[in-house]
Symmetry: C2
């Protein structure tokens, strides 16, 4: 008990991985004990006067503020929009709360706000309420943003609908966001400029969702990467997931950069991708439809839902072996979002 008291919060508690899940499950959920929060989904699905509403929140602390393919403003809008979309809802309204470090260039703030406004127009959402706090120099690093979002639920995508033999789809190439941040932050040049995949997914996913009842569940693999999000799905459903490593879409330059750095792309964050769990008979058709769109052109089936191992993910590797694919344990890369 004494030992417990002297514990400190580590960077890994914010990684999206195992330690964060432990913190949430052991320390936060029991204090609130309500069903919506317990589901730990990207958005809470709530009753509002008999209508179903999706509600989500995310804070963004990414460093640097501007990166190849985006900036903290675009990331904040896309992040909340995508959390609503993968929950099966049409994003309607966003809140925008800024925490600004004293001394920040006014023009930089304007650039970020421009980017937020542009991203909102692109996604068809409105910033309807906001807040600004300014803290003294050294009390925060330049700029943090929180966006919370409200969506209108189109389809109830419940993890409990997932069945053995369902197919797992990823809508595009993985690991681009995290790698873009890592390379810029550390001044590593891979010879090629890896660009974040930061994009909002309403245009890709909502028309499909409207047409296609075979889509059972979606989630966006952000912090902790594809491996961690697949583990969340496996743990919550109690089922297994078998992933075929060679089917996971990844660009040759991302693969090369990951090999160079000795990091696994399956644990690197994405900010414009979704995992979909779909009925087996419809999987090919859904992939074909995704591929007709620019954001879905590298979509593919990467695996299946299985009865065993329960609540775990198995990776069939390119060299013919199999291994359990764990959640992210340690933090490789703080402040990627």
């Amino acid at each position: 008990m004494k030992e417990e008291k002297s514990k400190k919060i580590l960077l890994a508690h914010g990684s999206g991985g195992q330690l964060m899940h432990d913190l949430i499950k052991n320390t936060i959920l029991p204090k609130f004990n309500n069903l919506s929060l317990n589901k730990l989904s990207d958005s809470a699905l709530l009753d509002f006067k008999g209508e179903e509403l999706a509600f989500t929140t995310d804070s963004f602390v990414v460093s640097p503020l501007f990166f190849r393919g985006g900036d903290i403003g675009k990331l904040a809008v896309c992040g909340s929009v995508n959390d609503l979309v993968v929950a099966g809802s049409q994003p309607l309204y966003l809140s925008l709360a800024l925490i600004i470090e004293e001394g920040l260039d006014y023009s930089l703030l304007e650039k970020v706000v421009d980017s937020i406004a542009q991203s909102c127009r692109n996604s068809g959402v409105k910033v309807v309420t906001g807040d600004i706090k300014v803290v003294e120099k050294g009390a925060c690093d330049k700029l943090f943003i929180n966006t919370s979002g409200i969506g209108r639920v189109i389809r109830n995508l419940e993890i409990k609908n997932i069945r053995v033999k369902d197919k797992v789809i990823i809508t595009g190439r993985i690991a681009e966001h995290g790698l873009s941040i890592l390379s810029q932050r550390n001044g590593i040049d891979f010879g090629v400029n890896i660009k974040s995949d930061c994009q909002s997914l309403e245009g890709l996913l909502l028309p499909l969702l409207n047409k296609c009842k075979a889509i059972k569940f979606m989630r966006d693999p952000t912090r902790g990467g594809l491996a961690t999000t697949l583990n969340e799905i496996a743990q919550t459903s109690g089922l297994g997931i078998v992933i075929d490593e060679t089917s996971v879409p990844i660009s040759s330059r991302v693969r090369a950069a990951c090999e160079l750095l000795g990091i696994d792309p399956l644990y690197i964050a994405n900010e414009g991708k979704a995992i979909m769990v779909v009925e087996p008979a419809a999987a090919e058709n859904i992939v074909n439809r995704l591929r007709q769109q620019r954001l879905g052109r590298y979509a593919g089936i990467i695996g299946s839902i299985t009865r065993e191992p329960k609540a775990a993910v198995v990776l069939n590797t390119g060299v013919g072996t199999s291994r359990i694919l764990d959640m992210l344990i340690s933090e490789s890369l703080p402040r990627i979002c």
Copy 2:
């Protein structure tokens, strides 16, 4: 134009006062240009499938994290709850986003989460969705919290309903929150322990709102204090407000502390008070009803709506003079909330 580019964000841009209003009006609103945001109210009032929904957001960066009368967790819940309540809505759902500095004591985080949970139970709201980010040491000061809230609109309290001769009520004694923070942060002992008024107001205000159609508008005078919030009401309505200084409820120890420090309690933040604008004939009755409750026991009529001066606030002082009461201009006290 060049000069504009080199401008820096100042602490005063987050004060709730004139500079913050300028920043919002000149730099933020034009980029979004939507009616809900333009109203700059505590909560946006939105259509959700034909039903009216209130939506609000606030980040909390208060230092110290624990203060007499509350802590950052209680403050975050009360802040968002009160923003929903003064917008005429019943608070239903909260989001909770934590930005934590690496190395924070786990037990301190637990204390804050306990306080959030307790405050939610007190106010009858549920935390339904959340987010955790951990940043490296030095990238934020201990702990920042964002809460966004959704409420069900009970009564449409629109500023355009305010008329000349309406009465202005404050629900209790002013300046206690800001002064509590100031005294603890600077280790100033006023001989008496001034306690923050941090409280949620749903229990005081919602039953009244249900019963009493004479309530036209409410707002909670947080950052920038009573004077700044009255100016917001005057500017938005285009009407004048005349305040009688001697009617403003304030405890003798707060008054003494303010005199000692040479600061004006009218500009000090409150976190458990509301300004109400009500029909003149009902004002006494409303004050009497407020006074029957513990949180409203010092409620009083402090002034009236006038035709002149347009969009400004006049203070009739205790010594028989009158002066224009401006918005807060410079920041006297950063990170009070």
